[in-house]
């Protein structure tokens, strides 16, 4: 019965929205659902902060050692939630407060940095390769040049290439004929999705610019990449002039 009551309350509120903080003067004792909204907000903020600064000092401010025995039946207004108390693992908390939505999951896995940077400061991008059964992730900030990246990718996907990719390395955009040869062959070429959502061939912009704008990498067969090349050259010449 209590459980069902809680569920009803859940559907009434907008879960997880920080702005949805309840007023504290509602008769808070039994309206469990209402309170949850607020404390989840606080919890979320605390979690974010604790990632940056370590354990929060809230402990000190609220943990005033009241040794006087509290016998009042009415609980004092909700204490600010203390970090990590009660000691229930995030994993379990997330499961319980999030059944179908994915809001809380993102909060808990934000440090995994899916799709490019964020809180961690890394430039994590997904790398897929046509024909390979799985994606990998790379942190672009770990490499200093296209050659570095090329070597790493070659190693990562070595078991899936025909063995040609590693030898050539990145395409030399300066040499248009060489480029067309490469694209016509069955060799694999790396392409990337930039900030504008366009798919470009890797290697057309200076390395730093590439790291900034690359959101996702895809290693495709050379023959499929032909459609990209003219656009890539266009963008490149635009950048140059």
């Amino acid at each position: 019965m209590i459980g069902q009551l809680m569920n009803l309350k859940e559907t009434e509120l907008c879960l997880g929205l920080p702005g949805g903080a309840e007023t504290l003067d509602t008769p808070a004792k039994f309206a469990v659902g209402n309170k949850r909204g607020f404390s989840e907000t606080v919890d979320l903020m605390l979690n974010l902060q604790s990632n940056k600064e370590g354990a929060i000092d809230l402990n000190n401010s609220t943990g005033s050692k009241q040794k006087t025995l509290l016998k009042d039946p009415v609980k004092p207004p909700a204490k600010t939630q203390v970090v990590g108390w009660p000691p229930v693992r995030n994993y379990r908390k997330n499961i319980m407060t999030n059944h179908k939505t994915s809001g809380a999951e993102e909060a808990s896995s934000e440090k995994a940095g899916n799709g490019g940077g964020g809180a961690t400061g890394a430039a994590l991008v997904k790398v897929s390769m046509d024909g390979a059964p799985y994606l990998r992730k790379v942190d672009l900030k770990m490499y200093k040049s296209y050659q570095d990246l090329s070597d790493a990718l070659a190693k990562m996907f070595s078991s899936f290439t025909m063995g040609n990719y590693g030898a050539q390395g990145m395409i030399d955009f300066m040499n248009e004929t060489k480029l067309m040869d490469l694209l016509n062959s069955s060799e694999y070429v790396p392409s990337y999705e930039d900030k504008d959502g366009d798919w470009m061939l890797v290697g057309d912009v200076p390395w730093e610019m590439f790291v900034e704008s690359c959101k996702r990498l895809r290693i495709m067969k050379g023959s499929e990449a032909i459609g990209l090349a003219p656009r890539a050259m266009e963008k490149y010449s635009k950048n140059r002039s």
Partner: protein
């Protein structure tokens, strides 16, 4: 579980060296060539399985130390920073199985910033060269990357078992590589780990022919899976005994899987336990599917339970020894008809939504109960708790064989704890979390000292204790006086003064793991334990009253102790205050991968 660690403290190393000196001069190695003796020893020592026995054998003399090092195939490392991977491979030459633990437990509760460490990378890269025959890796609270998993999959052709508990840093792409390359894989268990969704169909990555899979657990993977591929996988895994599905597997899909492989399964994680396709008029016969599960003794899952389908599990209840309802919000009325049939139950996990009434039902039926864990549905301090001392009292009266308890509640009384201490003499693990901080006995208004005191006094086998509620130094005096077997102690918001911690440090000779938060223990207390720290795995103290000066003193006095101070140092007005202290013995000095927010003294 409660055996000594592989890593020996420097003190015992010294002892062993002295012993070996004495041994060599009078041993019979003068009459037989060493290699013959070695062979004999090898053949004998290979039968030693227990860690304790092996540790003891290795202290006999140098020869035994060496031969034991050659024959130990399973290595347990309780703290990954207690030694370097190189030391592992130097001492043990033929390791086939590694159990490695990383972060301290309080990291689970956001008390430690991310990126603290416990990286698996140096371990896997060292072992890749040293142990190509490695078969099993079991990690807890380690940071494992996809690259680590790829290296593992590539380096160990005979790899059989991967178990990742409370780990993070990897995603489904790493799992895919393992599934694809480890052709002899028997066990792939992902338990309570944070697995990123890389949008990879890892289930399809298993090899196409018959697999060796015996156990597949992915209930913690928060990503949809290719069900058709899973069906195919189950169909071609004749040895599969344990299958734990994630919440993206619906009840209909579980039904189909059970049709395939129900009779062989011993352990089933039921996924969401809700209907995926509501449009169907006629739901499949779930009861029949569960009736076919003649061997199932362990049941879990129920991640998004539709309560009206819960009775489908009734056919298996009589066989169950382990039942995990801790992700399902089940009311007492739903619960009682089910538990009524579970006479053989030994392990039971649930949410407090079953209420005291549900616990009474457990007490009435589950006479074989060994382990009980009650988690809070609503883990906050100021709510009305559905479970209380009434439930605990009932359990103590009904389940006399209880060995392990984890209980979250809002209210508790000393009387209930005292009763339990008398009724359940087999208790080895007692973890009570009264969620309201500093809450006294809600009937008498007194501190919880007497209750916990009775537990440590009467439960003579107690090895693990977690305390809560209002506690004075007296409680700790009891712990020090009676808690002679305690190895792990968790303290939060408790005690009055340094004396409390002193009682424990001076009185508990077996103490290995000490984790304390938000308690008024300071420098005097810390210093009082210096005779113990080399014999402990770790000490964690956060938000206590330690000063930097004292921690530095300890670090200076104990060179084989790594003293980490964790916390922000940029805006601390009082730089002498230590937010978090984490210290542990180490044979190889301070680690080199400490992040910026960690200061090693």
């Amino acid at each position: 579980m409660s055996e000594d660690d592989e890593d020996q403290s420097p003190a015992t190393d010294l002892r062993s060296r002295n012993k070996s000196r004495n041994c060599i001069s009078s041993s019979s190695s003068q009459t037989f060539p060493d290699h013959v003796l070695e062979n004999v020893l090898e053949n004998v020592l290979q039968f030693l399985d227990s860690r304790c026995d092996r540790n003891a054998a290795s202290l006999v003399c140098k020869l035994w130390w060496k031969v034991e090092g050659l024959t130990r195939s399973e290595v347990f490392i309780g703290n990954c920073y207690a030694l370097s991977p190189a030391r592992l491979t130097q001492r043990f030459k033929r390791v086939r199985s590694l159990l490695l633990k990383g972060k301290p437990r309080f990291a689970d509760f956001n008390l430690m910033p991310a990126d603290w460490g416990a990286n698996f990378a140096p371990w896997v890269s060292t072992m890749a060269k040293a142990y190509p025959w490695l078969e099993k890796v079991d990690l807890k609270r380690m940071f494992v990357t996809d690259d680590d998993l790829a290296l593992l999959a590539e380096s160990f052709p005979g790899f059989k078992e991967l178990i990742l508990v409370c780990c993070e840093g990897f995603g489904t792409s790493g799992i895919a590589v393992v599934a694809n390359k480890c052709r002899k894989l028997k066990v792939l268990d992902l338990i309570e780990s944070d697995v990123t969704d890389d949008e990879v169909d890892w289930v399809s990555c298993f090899p196409e022919d018959v697999t060796c899979l015996e156990s597949l657990a992915f209930d913690c993977v928060e990503a949809p899976i290719n069900f058709k591929a899973l069906e195919g996988l189950v169909g071609r895994s004749p040895l599969l005994r344990k299958l734990r599905l994630n919440r993206f597997v619906s009840l209909e899909e579980v039904h189909r899987l059970l049709l395939l492989g129900a009779p062989q399964l011993t352990s089933l994680g039921t996924g969401s336990f809700s209907r995926g396709d509501q449009s169907q008029q006629e739901p499949p016969d779930y009861v029949a599917a569960f009736r076919a599960c003649k061997s199932v003794v362990c049941l879990s899952g129920f991640r998004e339970l539709m309560p009206e389908y819960l009775p489908a599990i009734l056919p298996v209840c009589a066989n169950l020894t382990s039942l995990n309802f801790s992700y399902a919000n089940i009311s007492p009325d739903m619960f009682k008809p089910i538990i009524h049939n579970c006479h053989k139950l030994q392990i039971f996990w649930a949410l407090d939504s079953i209420c005291d009434e549900g616990l009474q039902a457990v007490a009435a039926t589950c006479k074989e109960l060994r382990e009980l864990r009650i988690f809070p549905f609503d883990p906050r301090e100021d709510t009305e708790g559905p479970v209380s001392e009434l439930g605990l009292q009932a359990i103590s009266e009904g389940c006399r064989k209880l060995e392990s308890l984890l209980y979250f509640c809002q209210h508790m009384t000393n009387a209930a704890l005292i009763a339990m201490s008398h009724n359940c003499p087999e208790l080895t693990v007692f973890r009570l979390c009264i969620m309201g901080r500093l809450r006294p006995d809600h009937v008498t208004g007194k501190a919880m000292d007497e209750g916990f005191g009775a537990i440590v006094k009467n439960c003579k086998k107690l090895t693990r204790l977690a305390v809560s509620g209002l506690l004075t130094d007296q409680a700790f005096r009891y712990m020090g006086e009676y808690g002679k077997l305690i190895r792990t102690l968790s303290v939060a918001f408790a005690g009055d003064s340094d004396m409390a911690l002193r009682h424990v440090l001076e009185g508990c000779p077996r103490l290995q793991k000490l984790e304390i938060r938000d308690s008024p223990f300071g420098d005097v207390a810390l210093r009082s334990g210096m005779h113990r720290y080399y014999n402990m795995r770790f000490v964690w103290m956060s938000a206590c009253r330690l000063t930097m000066g004292c921690c530095k003193d300890v670090a200076r006095a104990m060179p084989n102790l790594v003293v980490e101070v964790i916390g922000s140092d940029d805006d601390d007005v009082n730089r002498d205050y230590v937010e978090t202290l984490y210290m542990y013995r180490s044979l190889d000095g301070p680690r080199k991968d400490a992040p910026q927010f960690v200061t090693i003294l």
